[in-house]
Amino acid sequence: MRRSMFGRYGLISLIAGLAFCALYWAMFVDRAYIEVSLTNHGPSNTYFKAYWPDKQGRFHGSKSIRLPIRPGLNKVSSYLVDLEGLDRIRIDPVDYHGNFELHSVSIKQSGFAPIILKPADMPVSMIPSPHPPVTQELRTNGWYVEPVDHDFQLILEPDLKPAGGNTVRNVSTFAVILLAVFAISFLSRGLWRNNRWIIVATLMLLVAVTLMATVSRVDTHPDEKTHLQAVTYFTDHFLPPALDDPDIAHSYSIYGYTRLANFEIYYQLAGWFSALLTDVQLPAYLRARTVNCLFLLGLLLFAIYRPGFREFLIPLLLTAQAWYLFSYVNSDAIGIFVGLLVAYQAAHRSSLLNTSLQGTATKSTWIGLVAISLLIGTLLLVKPNHYFFVLFLGLYLLIRLGQGDFPDRSAFWPRIVLVGVIAAVPYGNRVAMDMAVNGIDRGERAELYEQMHEKHAADFFKPSTPLEKKHPYLYLRERGADIQRMIDREFWPQKSFQSAFGDYGYTQYRAVPAFFSSVENLGLALIALIVLTVLFRGPPAHHALLLATVVSVVSLYAILFWYSWSISFQPQGRYFAAMLPMFAVVFYEIRQYVNRIAITSLVIGLFALSYYSFVFIGLDQIGKIAHGYGPFQ
């Protein structure tokens, strides 16, 4: 035991412990922390900003913090930078033309006496820039200011006085961190065998997801009501509805569309399943939410029974946004569920699909092959963004063929054709169901749907409404917005990124910017690790795989961007979920030669951040069932 404690494993623990200490020091100790209490007298939301100068003494956005504030009293706080040696910082209390009242400002940095500004100190300690305000007065509780222009700034010269006395605390903290890392790595050793840690992590997220599904209010999640209406239809119907059926009029959203018109299989499955739970006497939304939770449970069970599948769950651990999709009524989760299972079948060398295509499977696997073909076919009955995974699968198959993975061509071709034919069945079946109700003529159907669109859409969204009267977020390109505007003014990439890693409710609950920059750093490190590893260590086939992934990911990204630009502005990260199964295949392929410790550390880092975001932001802030009215009581 001693050898192993202080052997390679001990060394890794020591390095990890030191890394944590350094991180702790840099992120929390060696930085100032600002707490501000202010009243925003303006009518709308704005930002509190603080800047610190770069080496040339200039202030700019990359060296600043930005905290959202609402009208009325606000208490905000954030870490700044190490203030030692800095002669000034700039504070923009309200980032627009408006009046405000500062009640208190405190700046604390470890090792220095705190700087606490009371209202009486403020006019002396903070110099207005570039112009003095129109009005300023000292009130009982604060310093009231009416600025001249919208870019009102205050310059504060922080006078840091060494206070000392923190050395013992800091050394003790490092000792405790090191001890904790050693203890955790010693106690958790069994978890690294057979990828058991992935099971534990998936179980953790399943519990958190189940809690989100049960404590959050109905329709507090994006479009849940619309999804639920579509699901409810299928609780007492087998076939899809006629598009002009008055019974489904309520399922048309203000955009003039109904989820019942598309071919997503989720609504039928969830509706039929909800019907089975009728006697449980839970509200309809809870019965429907059960379905997505069960998809996640299904993935966990499959991973317990098939150790080979565990690695395919890694992408799921990277972002809490994917977990969120399993916790309310929506049709995205099924895409991830089916995608990951298909990714396993496609990539894992001993999966039923691979052994069948290689001709090494036994006779009794035919039923399994049919089931897998149907599963693949289901990919066509999920949200269209998942079609990019189908594109990826096609490219991947070509690469596998190219590298000679299927030498027995006489086994491969008939079976792949069979898989293709059977995979077409679910889609064909769905089209047939629709034809039975809405007629064989597809053109007529499209025309009818267009009429319904016109009929049910709110004025803002009606096709007949002139462009200038349409919702301002429709047809941005046609309105003359260029790509630059999409990026710089509409913040499409930024909003998409944030809502891909932890936006809850109607994208109104999210962690502080530091969270997203941490996710960004770890994510970029993970991508860099994978790309560099494949380029330097991978065989040519993996270079091709990398290219195929880039092509699929970029195409998906581009089409989503184009959609937001040309049709409806929807910068929503959940549409990127189709990338998860692609990453699963990549993770699996490179597992032999990628640095396990590095990749596991980065994945666990992202998992920890996601867990924080889901539990301490998502679950904490989401609208919850009223206290005393739990549906399970």
Partner: protein, 624 residues
């Protein structure tokens, strides 16, 4: 598939089939042959009050065995309940108010599988409710049946006429099939988790997530005494040593009772204060630091369970009640006491634990270091909450039992080692006592009394005459008998409820059915253990069983006596020391009991606990 393979497949899936059939029976009994009743009920209340719904078959009398009680505390209430079979001329009796007043029944909905749903929501249907007792009038007005009661036990009778549905409820077939398939799919994973108690760390991981969510979503100071614990923690953020009992620096830590948590010897406050000091740069609110400290202790237990197979066995009782999990989800000192008591139970029970190896090992490595470390740990046990001293006493008796069983071949070595370790522990405890003495000029008791008088509110001051004191204080002195304690103050019932899932200031509980299931499974476990040990055990294990029973009673008795002679606190958390004691017994009796059954019972209680913690605790607790 040939016959051999077929029969072996059947044999291997037999447990899954049995469990599946049990679940199917429960499903059918619950969902197919019982009706669901929903009553939209409006009243104006000043206090929490019960609404009772009885059901009985045709021509049968009503009894408390078929009763659903709902405590209501709002004006608008949606009462939902599952009652018996209402299909064949059954009767329903609603007792709306137990006092003189008004109430309005706006709607009654009855659903039973195989029948058309029945809704009473208009004048004609609602007046079918027949006033039986203590009802002055029942008139339909303003969208509901307005009832005026005359006081006493008001009753309304209903003969619901359920009409058979046209189609048979076919979905039950699919559900039954689904349950059987789910059993076949889940049970292999479950039975695999039985080996080596692998489900214990997994269960603790689930608990860790649940506790983290409780930490995150619950309002500040919404948990029992969280504010007092947090203030005591704050003291050690600034000081390293225990305070003077009358020091001004502890003034904020006094409760309404005139007591400060810092008077006790609990080292929890020192550690949590230290943790707070170390995490200062994180700028986390004080109550949250305390909560995170509790979570870290739980993480420690979970990780130990992953790493140490023997620890899992001792920690298994932690899975049987959500009340213990609740300790780990807010700032309080029980979390620490449970943590160290569980570790102590493992050190004592596992013959290969560091403590037991040290006691028998002739040439241990790092002997001095181990003596000090083990001594400090054991001495540290004296710095837990007072009721955990029973665990210490139990472990002491357990070693006497081990000695009697002949576990220590070299007795001299055992005594030498034990004395060395205990001496270090006593030295630590002695240091604390001496410090307290010197620091308080050897007048600690008197000063505490003075402070009590000074800081307590009137109802709790020692000088307040008994009749003016809080009515729940000194009950014995006021002439309350043991019988009254149980039947008037419901000490037993309340303690049981809050031992298996009472949240907030013991405000949020699951339905009675949950507690019935919980006690049912618990009693089955006890019966299983008693029977197995009686029939299969030797005299050693039987003695240990009796010893355990004695100490469990002792824990209960101490809690009872405190409630009786000092202040009524029927709180299940005072019974928590039973769990580490049970852990030691469970470890020792493993060879004698039917493991499979015990696993199923533990997991049954665990599942119920998850329900209570997630769907009652987290769902109901006030959130920020």
């Amino acid at each position: 598939m040939d016959m051999d393979r077929f029969s072996s497949a059947i044999k291997s899936s037999l447990p899954a089939l049995v469990v599946g059939l049990v679940l199917v029976t429960l499903y059918l009994q619950h969902f197919m042959f019982r009706a669901f009743v929903e009553i939209d009920f409006e009243t104006y209340l000043r206090y929490k009050a019960p609404v009772q719904v009885f059901w009985a078959d045709r021509d049968e009398t009503f009894s408390k065995k078929r009763l659903s009680t709902h405590w209501i505390f709002n004006t608008q209430n949606l009462l939902q309940m599952r009652v018996g079979d209402l299909g064949d001329g059954a009767q329903l009796r609603i007792d709306p108010l137990q006092y003189k007043g008004h109430a309005k029944i706006k709607r009654i909905r009855i659903e039973q599988s195989g029948y058309k749903p029945l809704t009473l929501d208009d004048a004609e249907s609602l007046t079918a409710l027949e006033p039986v007792n203590h009802i002055k009038s029942a008139v339909y007005q303003d969208g509901g049946l307005v009832i005026t009661t005359t006081g006493g036990d008001s009753q309304l009778l209903l003969h619901p006429e359920l009409v058979r549905a046209e189609t048979w409820p076919w979905h039950h077939l699919i559900n039954v099939l689904g349950i059987m398939l789910a059993s076949l799919a889940l049970l292999p994973a479950l039975s695999r988790s039985f080996s080596g108690h692998a489900y214990v760390p997994v269960g603790l991981t689930v608990v860790l997530v649940l506790a983290t969510v409780m930490v995150s979503v619950s309002q500040r100071f919404t948990h029992p005494d969280e504010a007092t614990h947090t203030r005591a923690t704050n003291y050690y953020q600034n000081y390293n040593l225990p305070p003077k009992v009358d020091g001004p620096e502890i003034a904020p830590t006094y409760s309404a009772y005139g007591n400060s948590r810092l008077y006790g010897y609990e080292i929890y406050y020192f550690f949590s204060g230290l943790f707070k000091r170390l995490t200062e740069p994180l700028h986390i609110p004080a109550y949250m630091v305390g909560r995170l400290f509790s979570l870290l202790l739980l993480l420690g237990l979970a990780l130990m369970a992953y790493r140490l197979p023997e620890f899992r066995v001792v920690a298994a009782p932690l899975l049987i009640t959500p009340q213990i999990w609740y300790f780990f989800s807010y700032a309080n000192s029980d979390s620490y006491s449970v943590f160290v008591s569980t570790v102590l139970a493992w050190l004592a029970a596992d013959s290969d634990s560091p403590l037991n190896r040290f006691l028998v090992d002739r040439e241990p490595s790092a002997k001095v270091l181990k003596t000090i470390a083990l001594g400090l740990f054991l001495g540290g046990m004296l710095f837990t909450k007072l009721n955990y001293y029973t665990v210490i006493l139990f472990v002491g008796s357990f070693y006497v039992w081990k000695y009697w069983r002949g576990d220590f071949v070299d007795r001299r070595l055992f005594f030498r080692r034990a004395i060395a370790v205990l001496a270090v522990g006593m030295l630590l405890a002695g240091c604390r006592l001496v410090w307290d003495g010197v620091n308080n000029d050897w007048e600690r008791g008197e000063r505490i009394h003075k402070m009590w008088e000074k800081h307590a509110i009137e109802a709790y001051k020692p000088s307040t005459p008994l009749e003016n004191k809080h009515p729940e204080m000194f009950l014995r002195e006021r002439g309350t008998s043991i019988d009254d304690m149980l039947n008037v103050h419901h000490w037993g019932g309340k303690s049981l409820l809050s031992a298996f899932g009472g949240y907030g200031h013991t405000e949020y509980f699951a339905r009675p059915a949950y507690f019935n299931w919980m006690s049912g499974l618990g009693l089955m476990f006890m019966a299983l253990a008693a029977l197995a040990l009686l029939m299969r055990g030797n005299r050693h294990i039987q003695t240990l069983f009796l010893l355990t029973v004695f100490f469990c009673f002792l824990v209960v008795a101490i809690s009872f006596v405190t409630s009786w002679i000092r202040i009524l606190q029927p709180q299940g958390r005072y019974l928590a020391p039973i769990l580490p004691i049970l852990g030691v017994l469970y470890y020792q009796m493993r060879p004698y009991i039917f493991q499979w059954v015990s696993h199923i019972l533990i997991l049954g209680m665990f599942s119920l606990s998850v329900y209570s913690f997630a769907f009652v605790g987290i769902a109901e607790i006030p959130k920020g």
